[in-house]
Symmetry: C2
């Protein structure tokens, strides 16, 4: 199989290196050859690749019928989507690591791939190096998947681990993450939960068999967490994670990304630092948990190469997204941990436990409606309040 790699950043380089290193191992699959690497004019001088491989005009790749698979790892949103559509329309198989595009255009790209009779794979879009998409597809064919919980953003998990372990304030932990290259200069996508949300949309769509929408997901990021909140966790032997949660109950389902406090018996309790993990429950298989590196040149490249290998091995097969339903279960009931200023209050009958601390107070609620809590907190925030909340798992 002759492939073209679009983009020669971290993931593109990882993918290229692995394919070169394992040439002999791919012989039994008929061989995998990188025929072209698409990059910008300004990147050409520094790339160090054989000039025959370098390409700066996507049309060349599209028009080369010997290239049967396009690997999109540009990281670009609009441009990436265009590249993908054009590849499929030229009947080229598509492998991508682009979670933003997959999350937003899963249904359209899947439909297009079916129409043109090509495969559309995106193992690297969720959970970095963890083989997750491929087993999830298989399990969803055999099982009714009734829940998925995931830690899908290494940046957030690193920040939360640092805050808990070393008592660092949010801003300092974020800076450390930026110094290590875990977090972007503008960390909004990570810390406000958008990146996690996209990954939840992808796995929930595969679990349900129809595409869910980004706007269906209830979202709260980690940027309001304070150092003092960590004391509560330590006192109670809890950890805090930005959890992506999918729950299905009959035809009803719920999708939430928010900080959650988890205890020692939770399957994701041990997942610290930049590691990612997902735990799913199916009616036959019971509970499965997958843990691995959430990002990085070689882990993510490895996931891309897994997809390319699958292409070599598979007969034609279609995924049919059958129907679309709207999630209605986001108003879960759960106990919540809330930290707020001393002069702010939650309704009395919500409160299970309350404690005053320097310049504020910490509350553990009874089991309350998430919608009601978020409504109340939104109002308090409009008045300028500095509030952090997390579900107690």
């Amino acid at each position: 199989m002759k492939i073209a790699i679009l983009g020669y950043g971290t993931v593109g380089r990882g993918t290229y290196d692995i394919i070169q290193a394992r040439q002999k191992d791919f012989e039994s699959l008929g061989g995998i050859q990188v025929a072209k690497v698409l990059m910008l004019e300004k990147e050409v001088d520094q790339c160090g690749l054989d000039p025959d491989l370098i390409c700066t005009d996507y049309q060349e790749i599209l028009e080369d019928d010997t290239i049967t698979c396009v690997v999109e790892v540009t990281g670009a949103k609009d441009q990436g989507f265009l590249f993908m559509k054009e590849a499929i329309e030229r009947k080229k198989h598509l492998v991508t690591a682009n979670k933003a595009v997959v999350s937003q255009h899963l249904e359209e790209l899947t439909g297009l791939a079916n129409r043109y009779g090509v495969h559309f794979f995106y193992e690297a879009a969720v959970g970095g190096g963890i083989p997750l998409i491929s087993p999830l597809k298989a399990q969803a064919k055999i099982n009714t998947i009734d829940s998925i919980e995931g830690i899908f953003n290494g940046t957030c998990n690193y920040i939360l681990s640092k805050m808990l372990d070393q008592g660092l304030p949010y801003g300092e932990a974020l800076e450390k993450a930026q110094d290590l290259g875990y977090a972007e200069a503008d960390p909004t996508d990570d810390v406000e939960g958008f990146d996690t949300l996209r990954k939840l949309v992808i796995v929930a769509s595969l679990a349900l068999g129809f595409p869910v929408l980004e706007e269906d997901v209830a979202l709260e990021g980690i940027s309001s967490i304070k150092v003092s909140d960590m004391d509560y966790l330590k006192d109670h032997d809890l950890k805090i994670k930005l959890l992506a949660s999918f729950k299905k109950d009959g035809d009803d389902y719920g999708l939430i990304v928010e900080p959650a406090l988890i205890g020692r018996n939770h399957p994701l309790y041990g997942i610290d630092g930049a590691t990612n993990a997902a735990s799913l429950h199916g009616n036959f298989v019971d509970q499965l948990t997958f843990i691995g590196p959430g990002a990085g040149k070689y882990p993510t490249g490895n996931a891309v190469v897994c997809d390319i290998m699958d292409l070599c091995r598979l007969k034609e097969e279609k995924i049919n997204f059958t129907k679309r339903l709207k999630g209605s279960q986001n108003d879960i009931k759960a106990p919540y941990y809330v930290s707020l200023d001393s002069d702010q209050n939650l309704p009395k009958d919500w409160i299970d436990w309350e404690e005053s601390v320097d310049g504020g107070k910490r509350i553990r609620t009874k089991e309350i409606s998430r919608d009601a809590l978020v409504g109340t907190i939104e109002n308090l925030r409009k008045e300028g309040a500095d509030i952090f909340f997390a579900r107690i798992q």
Copy 2:
């Protein structure tokens, strides 16, 4: 695809039920139909199956050319192996959950399947419901797998968890496991580590690309562990697991099944009760951990059905076991925990820490040669000593 199920015990029933329940979901794969279920004459009356499905003569299945896949779930060793060989020789794809046969005959059955151009799958043979064999094969094609650690026997893990959590003596914990159906009447295969050894042989062979032999594995079971040993673990915030360990270093590799003490940061620390898990490390993908139910009607049936689905999806592809090397790394150096009678001694210069307890003593050694330790312990055991040892991970 028309299949025959050989054996209608726990796994056979689980497999049958799942296939019946998911008929509609398999349509996109061309359909999966159970054509025959092989059982003993005496089982026929109680099986509750449509009489057209029931078969008591394997020849009928072999001679039916419309049956293209045989699912061997008899659990029988010699008979199971014969069934498998005959199926392949009739050019039928083979799916099995029979770890004893796969471990002992992996090379022969793989070679036979290649010769006759059929697939030979055994996802259910290791780790029950965990999708492990299939991702391991993929990762081994892309990566040099340099270590695997697994908890592959739910019975042992359940017994060890009970002993640690509830302070039960070994015998009582074993009885509980037997009451719950986790352990057989004769628990030797489980508690002496033979079952774990077989699974290690299978995963190590796939990681290396050539078959390792059962006799290459250094083995120590869990039956000598005493209640007093658990105090040490509690004092040091450690857990004890029967670990299957594969380590590769260049052309050298080692295979050990033995009790190991693991601390809070070990990826398998949280794996308690009958759960199974495996953690592998590859040069590109880094560390991946897979956790799930190690046994049971539906989890194991689920793994069998995953294999059948793969058969429907895959082009022909061969695994070639290329070469055979002998493992030579079993003489690892590690610190060991040893509990023995008061009148017994280890060489003085091995001892890092020693403590007297009721009727015995507990020793933590420095980093010592496993071979030297096992030699010394064998001699002491010959003199009637009651010794337990475990690697400190």
